[in-house]
């Protein structure tokens, strides 16, 4: 049963817990890495928008990758980046029209959302359900 990470900016209070959760969920040797999710001001008063990979149907990141390091995880639907295959050429970073593949300067690696393998930390720790990881089937029944 596939799920989707649903972002509801109207519920976001800009607390950035999601960013922290993401950093720690992807920590290397206990050190937090660059967050794959970024909360940006929405251009209106008290409005914040968490920006995270949309796992597009026809993803520019994977198309741009010349070594096939970005592939879809069929069970979660996530476009995952295989760190050991990545050659750090930044093609995906430059190609994503939403800016959701990122360059982690500190760890010299390219990072992107992988839905934490099916249990995204950002959603888990979001205090307001602005980020919610829901099954597609349930979404349909809920209308």
């Amino acid at each position: 049963m596939q799920s989707r990470l649903v972002v509801n900016p109207s519920l976001c209070i800009g607390c950035r817990t999601c960013e922290l959760a993401c950093s720690f969920a992807h920590a290397i040797g206990g050190k937090p890495t660059l967050s794959r999710i970024h909360v940006h001001p929405g251009g209106h008063k008290d409005l914040f928008v968490p920006i995270v990979c949309l796992h597009c149907e026809d993803p520019a990141c994977a198309k741009a990758c010349l070594v096939d390091a970005i592939t879809r995880n069929e069970s979660t639907g996530a476009m995952e980046l295989d760190q050991s295959k990545c050659v750090k050429c930044m093609a995906c970073v430059a190609a994503c029209p939403f800016g959701c593949t990122l360059h982690d300067v500190q760890f010299r690696q390219i990072v992107k959302c992988d839905l934490c393998g099916g249990d995204p930390a950002c959603a888990k720790f979001c205090p307001t359900k602005a980020l919610d990881y829901r099954s597609i089937a349930l979404m349909r029944t809920a209308g």
Partner: protein, 256 residues
């Protein structure tokens, strides 16, 4: 699935997997310097060699590079037998003679108890360990800008005729994946210099900073169908734009 024994432990592996992958999955530390998952195994550094045998081999043993030896049913693998360790020590001793000032080699050698090579050091050492990762990645990406030249002990990695390489797009993959940092480059966010060639970056309209060269962007547009306008701004500006759009939509529903 096949089952095999590694250092006395019976493990399962997918058939077709290479020994090194399975060994590393077990958390066993076997060094390998020419291995990169983006490219085919190469078998040049020989550090990942392990001892293999089978019950049916009647005591006969073989030494193979685990990076390109596919797992086999009933294989018995020793990753740190006396002979294997001796081999690794010799290899690192030899590598230290070629690259005496290279921190990576110094560290690996030291881990094997060698602080100074017992062989004759080369006269003008550099940090290239001839692992071929740079050229193989460049080939895998389809650019073929650099290659090995000469052979034997005089082998080196170079652009054609030691001139700025015409086929290079300045993607930096060679430099960024070089295990010793031997391949140098500069990048100030606007221009980039590698292999004595200067590239202009496609800079962000907003920040003036760029991620990829014009040549690389043009290649991605032409051969991979990435629209040119995607390169107009950088990732941060892309996110900001998206946040603005979503903010506007959210705001309009809020007002209703």
């Amino acid at each position: 699935m096949v089952s095999l024994t590694i250092n006395g432990k019976v493990v399962q592996a997918e058939s077709g997997e290479m020994l090194l992958t399975v060994i590393r999955r077990l958390g066993i530390d076997v060094p390998a310097l020419c291995q990169h998952d983006a490219v085919e195994p190469y078998g040049a550094c020989r550090l990942c060699m392990v001892e293999i045998t089978k019950e049916s081999w009647n005591g006969w043993k073989n030494y193979v590079t685990s990076c390109l030896y596919p797992v086999e049913q009933d294989l018995i693998v020793q990753t740190h037998s006396e002979q294997v360790i001796e081999l690794r020590r010799t290899l690192l001793d030899l590598m230290l003679a070629r690259n005496p000032q290279t921190p990576l080699i110094q560290r690996l050698a030291a881990e094997h108890g060698i602080t100074k090579t017992s062989y004759t050091e080369v006269v003008e050492p550099d940090d290239c360990i001839l692992c071929g990762i740079c050229t193989r990645i460049c080939d895998a990406m389809g650019f073929h800008a650099i290659s090995s030249v000469n052979r034997g002990h005089g082998k080196e990695i170079a652009p054609p005729l030691h001139q700025p390489p015409q086929d290079c797009v300045g993607c930096l993959a060679c430099a960024l994946n070089c295990p010793t940092g031997f391949i140098r480059y500069t990048d100030d966010g606007r221009t980039r210099r590698i292999w004595d060639r200067t590239f202009d970056l496609v800079t962000c309209e907003k920040t003036g900073q760029g991620r990829v060269t014009r040549e690389f962007a043009a290649f991605l547009t032409e051969h991979r169908g990435i629209p040119e306008e995607y390169f107009r701004v950088n990732d941060e500006s892309h996110r900001k734009e998206l946040a603005q759009t979503m903010g506007d939509i959210t705001n309009s529903t809020r007002e209703e």
